[in-house]
Amino acid sequence: MWEYTDKVKEHFMNPLNVGEIENAEGTGDVGSLACGDALKLTLKIVDDIIVDAQFKTFGCASAIASSSALTEMVKGLPVDEAAKITNEDIAQFLGGLPKEKMHCSVMGREALEAAIANYKGVPLRVAEGDVVCECFGVTDLEVKRAIQESNLHTVEEVTNFTKAGGGCGKCHDRLQELIDEVQKDSTAKIIPMKGPKRMTTLQKIKMIEEVLEREIRPVLKKDGGDIELVDVDGDYVLVSLRGACGSCAKSQTTLKEYVEKKLREQVIDTLIVEEDK
């Protein structure tokens, strides 16, 4: 059984904006029956503003939830603002997706891009490039983009995000080459920016709060403890341990081995968690 967040379950059981807008200004059709998921996104656009969005999806719970989330996110946005939405934003809107299901959020981003390209009457960028994974028809450009955007390091991660390599496995060597290529370029570029992801402090605080709420607090509460976020300064995350945790001799271990590890996994891997005393 997958561990879906409540938000994913909510958007799956009661999806919003199901349907197809007639004479839509922008239509994005991605995926296929063979691949196991497909999404048709239709947008009603007036004066460069997306006033309505509807979807039809064939796929699993996370594909349906990602589609529902996407339509909610873009409604009311100017087209150029909507174009900035990434798959990570969609996953974040849903409180996270299991890593094996990240490709569902990528499908959402691809459908959005296709719909906007259709509206603007320009060809799609990702349709170009050479097919790397023949099982799922994924091109090198798509793979490279996912590696860059989501900072992927292993073939398994690339498969989770793009499906490439999830079939016969023949392309695994080529995928590794693409990872090496992109990561070599990006380390050169990214080091001066401190950390692999560009994120505003506000975004960072929001994500840290979400992880605390969703994963960390429930675990601490089981032992009669609690945790509060005090401040975020660059990579320094200042927290205060409450309840049983405050007086627990093992609180430092909890902080480093558990809280910091979780936050590094889910937010940015350079975070340093300190206790506010």
């Binding site: 199901v18 059709d29 196991g36 998921d37 497909a38 039809k56 699993c60 349906i64 799922f136």
Partner: protein
């Protein structure tokens, strides 16, 4: 909590209450080691022997042909590796494309990890999941060390002609193994009449607990142990016996032997009612697997143009438990290897649902499922971009 309607018995079964009862003393007062010299341990050894007799009786085997293992997978690995060890000059394995991963992945690993020292023939299946005996005949050759063919398929319930296939292998002096995990307890098996060398079974598929399996090894068949250690199981499987589970499996086999005919009748009736109604009330619903050569409890139905995980999760909201062969439920990205081997088109493979019943299911439960499924499929189809366009 919603009531659970459990129709996933090919995944695992409820431990029968009678089985739980006989197991309990071996978690508390009867904690002796069956290998001990004292009478306290000796009493436990008697319980293990008694269980061994009951299991042998269900299979038409002798007690000394029963080797306890930890699960079906261990039994499978033991059988295959033993056959290869005792036939060092033969490097060919014959199996099918629709085996459980316990055999399929083992055979494929033997091929790739040994740098193709072993040759593996995986027999194909027809669109109804049945094997072609001519293809099988041609696959057997002088290099074949062992044939491993499941008795019944876990996904479709299709039963293979094991008696014939075993005879064909034995005529050429080839060892024959069958993974009978889904068959034991569901259909009659008599090893007195079929010269099978190795047979695997798993306790938790027949209302015994998880963590106990059996490998039947025919007397006289060369054997090399997989777990090497103490003298337990006459040196065929080291490790202190899982006494409580062995006693439980004995009871489960006794129950299966006593009630198989009537239970099969009851389960088959419920399965047929469920299947008939779903196929009639849901358009574009297709049965996967041969209609007759099939376990009485299994029904694998594809609902075209919708995806299995979504169906399962909506069923789950009503407490209905089943499985799917869709890609999304497996953690891999491709639908079930069984359905693909059968050539089930992607439109149907992704939307396949396996219902597997047991004696604990009731007619009310079947009626409830018949009532709920059509609306679930209809809702998901209304959301599917392919449903409306299917005519095009």
């Amino acid at each position: 909590m919603t009531n659970i309607i459990y129709m996933d018995n090919n995944a695992t079964t409820r431990v029968a209450p009678e089985v739980v009862d006989v197991m309990m003393p071996y978690f508390s007062e009867q904690y002796g080691n069956p290998s001990s010299m004292h009478n306290f341990g000796g009493k436990v050894m008697s319980a293990v022997s008694e269980a061994r007799d009951k299991i042998a009786a269900l299979l038409g085997a002798d007690a000394d042909e029963i080797v306890f293992t930890s699960c079906g997978t261990e039994s499978d690995s033991t059988a295959l590796l033993s056959a290869l060890k005792s036939n060092p000059d033969k490097r060919h394995i014959v199996t099918t494309r629709v085996e459980h991963p316990a055999i399929k992945n083992l055979a494929e690993n033997l091929r790739s990890l040994t740098g193709h020292k072993y040759r593996v023939t995986q027999l194909s299946v027809a669109s109804d999941g049945t094997l072609d005996l001519d293809e099988y005949e041609k696959a057997l050759d002088d290099e074949t060390a062992i044939v491993s063919i499941m008795w019944a398929n876990n996904e479709t319930g299709v039963i293979f002609p094991i008696e014939k296939m075993c005879k064909m292998a034995k005529d050429r002096d080839i060892l024959f193994h069958t993974d009978a995990v889904q068959a034991v307890g569901k259909i009659p098996i008599n090893l007195k009449e079929i010269p099978i060398d190795f047979l695997s079974l798993s306790g938790h598929k027949l209302h015994a607990p998880k963590g106990i399996g059996v490998l039947y090894v025919r007397r006289g068949t060369p054997f090399a142990p997989f777990m090497i250690g103490g003298h337990q199981e006459h040196g065929r499987r080291g490790g202190t016996e899982n006494v409580a589970s062995i006693v439980g499996l004995g009871k489960a086999c006794e129950l299966a032997a006593a009630h198989m005919a009537e239970e099969n009748d009851q389960v088959r009736k419920l399965r047929d009612k469920l299947e008939k109604n779903l196929l009639e009330s849901v358009p574009n619903a297709i049965l996967n697997g041969h209609k007759n050569d099939r376990l009485p409890n299994t029904s694998n139905i594809s609902f075209e143009y919708v995806e299995g995980e979504s169906i399962l999760l909506h069923m789950d909201a009503f407490g209905i438990c089943a499985s799917s062969g869709s890609a999304c439920t497996s953690g891999s990205l491709e639908p079930s290897h069984v359905l693909r081997a059968m050539g089930v088109p992607f439109t149907a493979a992704h939307g396949s649902i396996r219902f597997s019943l047991s004696i604990y299911n009731t007619e009310e439960e079947v009626d409830f499922v018949i009532e709920k499924i059509p609306a679930i499929i209809e809702n998901l189809r209304a959301m599917s971009p392919f449903w409306q366009d299917r005519e095009k």
